[in-house]
Symmetry: C2
């Protein structure tokens, strides 16, 4: 049976057009059933104006959407009937296999933890983020847990390593611990203790500490952080990508000759611009939940939503969750 | 009387050639006296092979150098007579006004804290780092204190703000606190408590939290961090700069047409390459010590050493240390 992916159709900056477009493409091209949670009339119009819909497209009616600036807890109160909440209900009730949303990250973490729920024995879910620099690097945790313990960092390392191998297809992923130096004793007490745990963990291919400079250089496939540090790492990479794209534009827009130079290098500079554009960076997977939940970027377009749905499908079919479920018990 | 700057002539990757060249240029162009600490014969040869030395150049003999991989504590034991230690002695003894070194950062922090000493009432010295992106941003602390308290972050903010205005010449510097979100309650308990202290501190122009993405965007002039987070922020910016320079090279070296495009944009791309090249980023000032100590990058060339000496001179003449000394007492 084909995977059934529920999409929060109202949560992103380009909702519901991006969600509907991406979902229809996924139904057509990768054989998934897509359930679009949101305002029935608006979604129906979006589907209709695209011509004949493929098979395997459903609408799950919902009431409104949670905003990017709403407090995450609103999803449990005044926004408990919104598209994101209803999408989470569909996963909780077994009606969908996986959830994709471009909405409020904190609200998604809250509602997914409560409704999709963590696997038994997993104490915290983590948010992974993938940055495609010299190689794709999975940052885990990238922002869900600002308080961490050495044992949680070890859990994040193991879940991240499994995701990297089973979903991203990297053989024997190189797992590193973010730190302020290469030596094993470096960092805060949290990080030096985590280093010892990771070094002793035979399930992962731990290659030691990664300094900030190593992350964009192809040094590792997974970088393990507490959510505070991971968020700053991720956002700094994004900010430098924006800086780089502004700088490239300034170089080529200086005069007629540089515009001509821009034409000569266009395909390569466009590829680079995409590589460092966080809006192109695929979805961020939640790790440790009982079903796949993928956070697409808030500014996702149709293509990003399609990519996130494809990622949720791969995640669902990867066997990662059943493997985690076998290893952890209450 | 002209400022007397002592230079650890043996500690960097390009020692002593870079140090001697940079020091001679400083003596010639900006009217400082330079004291070169290191192996007398080698330094003398370096001076002689550059022709007639300007006035105001002295050698302070020292025995060996501390290596980049030596533990910082070696500076107090088997390396206690090395060029960096002897340079710190010269400042301690009042023979020099300021110290510049391209050597081992941890050893410099250790020896400067013990010999140059902190100002009375200042509980910790911090290491500032300047990254010239959309605007020059001072990151403080960039690595000296991995353990911090809200009060220390407040101290770093105040010292950083003073440095930015008095040495970097920025009027009313915009001071931000690194964090994982814009809201005042964001972050770890350390950061939410620091936010309250900074918001209530009338001595600084606190503009709120900076996310990683804001740092390269011109959002602030000073960004306040604990040393662990600041090191990761700084190194990630450096690593993205290296990534960017590799990417630019790949774009222009693809074929004859792109090489031609490279010629057309050469001056602008070279300027950008320098902007993101951490080796070009001037020296990192220690803040809170009784005399200026500036850490030049390990891979400093002659020009970087000259720049760091000029920075130490400006720091010395800025009145920053006497102002701090008046405000803090034991």
């Amino acid at each position: 049976m084909s995977a059934r992916i529920v999409i929060d159709a109202m949560g992103g900056d380009n909702s519901p057009s991006a969600e509907v477009g991406g979902a229809l493409r996924a139904a057509r091209e990768i054989g998934v059933s897509v359930l679009l949670a949101g305002d029935e009339r608006i979604i129906r119009n979006e589907i209709d104006r695209r011509g004949r819909a493929p098979a395997g497209v459903e609408i799950i009616p919902a009431d409104g959407a949670i905003g990017m600036k709403d407090p995450p807890s609103a999803i449990l109160k005044e926004k408990s009937g919104c598209s994101m909440a209803v999408a989470a209900d569909a996963v909780r009730d077994g009606y969908a296999d996986a959830l994709v949303s471009a909405g409020n990250t904190g609200a998604l973490f809250t509602v997914a933890s409560l409704k999709v729920r963590r696997l038994p024995g997993i104490r915290r879910a983590a948010l992974g983020a993938i940055v495609p620099l010299e190689n794709p690097v999975l940052i885990v945790d990238s922002g869900a847990n600002t308080d961490a313990t050495p044992e949680l960092l070890q859990l994040f390392a193991y879940m991240g390593s499994l995701y990297c191998s089973l979903v991203m297809g990297v053989e024997k992923p190189r797992v590193a611990l973010i730190n302020n130096g290469a030596e094993s004793t470096k960092g805060t007490p949290l990080y030096s203790a985590a280093h010892s745990l990771l070094a002793a963990d035979g399930r992962i291919n731990f290659i030691g500490n990664a300094e900030g400079r190593d992350v964009p250089s192809g040094f590792c496939d997974v970088v393990v952080c507490d959510g505070f540090t991971g968020n700053i790492l991720l956002k700094t990479i994004e900010g430098m990508g924006l800086f780089m794209n502004r700088s490239l534009k300034n170089i080529f827009h200086a005069n007629a000759l540089t515009l001509f130079a821009g034409l000569l290098t266009r395909s390569k500079t466009n590829a680079l611009k995409k590589q460092v554009d966080h809006r192109e960076h695929g979805g961020a997977p939640f790790l440790g939940l009982a079903k796949p939940v993928v956070k697409a970027h808030g500014s996702s377009d149709e293509k990003s939503i399609f990519t996130a749905i494809r990622q949720a499908k791969t995640f669902h079919e990867s066997g990662l969750i059943s493997k985690l479920g076998e290893e952890f018990t209450d």
